[in-house]
Symmetry: C2
Subunit: 267 residues, 2 copies
């Protein structure tokens, strides 16, 4: 069992209640990463479902969560032959922190009938770069759990050269040897720095809502994350992330609606 598997473990209490222990290793400087929280919640959903895969997950992020004991409460909304719909709520200190609706189903290994190609080509991983290690006092423990290699222009904001467009692109894998699975994908779709950093914005950009669809089970190896936004307006922005696997297949699609950081709007 990897550290990530352990940190997202959901222990069955009864048919509608699972215990999870929110791990301090997935912090983005105080609050825990949203993708990590989704992964823990989805472990409970999938364990309780007759189906194998979290095909469609919509989450409202209600409050920033900190490490410690938490519960996932499940309500089975509908179960059918091909899919089950579950409402799942992550509760910490008696308060709902994430509220989700999830469709589970069992994906087959069919080839794609039709597929788009990535919107932007990525340079080879050898030409991509890591972010500098965060200072220990930042509380940014998440960085040590995963490896990200960025398409260099999309982290130009780091040295004062944002591209001027909301975008972020990187190769992704877990720091420990671990093949990607749907729970790793839940982490991956929220693993990039906010796309608005490339448009000149700064500061924590809290996610309001994130929906992601699992489209295929990923092959082992690096994942490619292609992130972009379409509109920054009135303090709100969208972030669309496609995840492609090492076999060149689109394995996950996500979109989140988020708030601009308090650190100031785009330049």
């Amino acid at each position: 069992m990897t550290k990530f598997d352990e940190a997202t473990q959901a222990i069955r209490v009864d048919a509608t209640t699972y215990d999870v222990c929110l791990d301090p290793g997935y912090s983005i400087g105080g609050p825990l990463n949203g993708g990590y929280l989704m992964a823990a919640l989805l472990r409970a959903v999938v364990d309780a479902s007759p189906h194998d895969h979290p095909v469609s997950t919509s989450v409202q992020f209600l409050r920033a969560a900190v490490p410690g004991p938490a519960r996932v409460r499940l309500e089975q909304v509908k179960t059918g032959r091909t899919a089950t719909v579950t409402r799942a709520t992550l509760v910490r200190d008696g308060q709902a922190h994430l509220d989700a609706l999830v469709t589970t189903a069992t994906l087959g290994d069919a080839e794609s009938t039709w597929s788009a190609t990535p919107a932007v080509p990525m340079p080879p991983v050898e030409e991509c770069v890591a972010l500098p290690e965060p200072k220990p006092e930042s509380g940014m423990t998440l960085s040590a759990r995963m490896e990200l290699r960025f398409d260099p222009p999309t982290i130009g904001w780091l040295h004062g050269e944002p591209t001027g467009r909301p975008e972020s692109r990187a190769y992704f894998r877990m720091a420990e040897p671990q093949d990607p699975d749907p729970f790793v994908l839940a982490l991956a779709v929220d693993a990039l720095p906010p796309v608005v950093f490339s448009a000149g914005s700064r500061g924590w950009a809290p996610t309001v809502e994130l929906t992601w669809h699992l489209r295929a089970l990923p092959a082992p190896g690096w994942l490619t994350l292609i992130g972009q936004g379409r509109l920054i307006r009135d303090g709100w922005f969208d972030e669309d992330v496609e995840v492609w696997d090492s076999a060149g297949r689109l394995v996950a699609q996500s979109r989140q609606l988020a708030r601009l950081g308090r650190g100031g709007g785009p330049a």
Copy 2:
């Protein structure tokens, strides 16, 4: 009050219950259109919220709904200064048909800080074409409620010439004189024929999940709907629809995950 306003009216029974009367005028040949059902559900959500606009709506479509009396049951998940999160369930004949999580907030009239442009340019509305009127026996009553003018190649499937890509593009307005508002947008994001028709597929393509974000209040006039898919695989496809208003602003973004029609897969 327009027919659409009347058909989506939600009458308050108490703080958590609204009555709606599902109107036979929004049928797609038996079942009611998903966008129409979302609009009725959102009327209840917005009426019960201290905030004005349905900014983010995620819906799981559990069962196909037919006309008649129904209820919207609300649960206020969280209310804060800037946003309220509500769970809303559309119940018909004692069964949940739509289950939704909705963030309401109040959008301002600020200009965009940054905006993408439409992925595909549209020809002028005069060069776009309507679909032939459906036969009365088809039960397709929805067509009479709205005007759609299609970018011609994207309805080439009608005479055996699909473009070969999942796409659909049209100008949209209500058949009655009515300025677009957030409820009209809920209808608009699910108003196009399934994008997979252009990829050679046929048959009813039931939506499993649809999430849409309201990004700005639309200006009066035609709306432009730009629909495309990214992957058709294993009986599932995605459909992404952007809605642009007559002032050229992105006012809504949606993505749905749907099942391929039983009428057979893409050619």
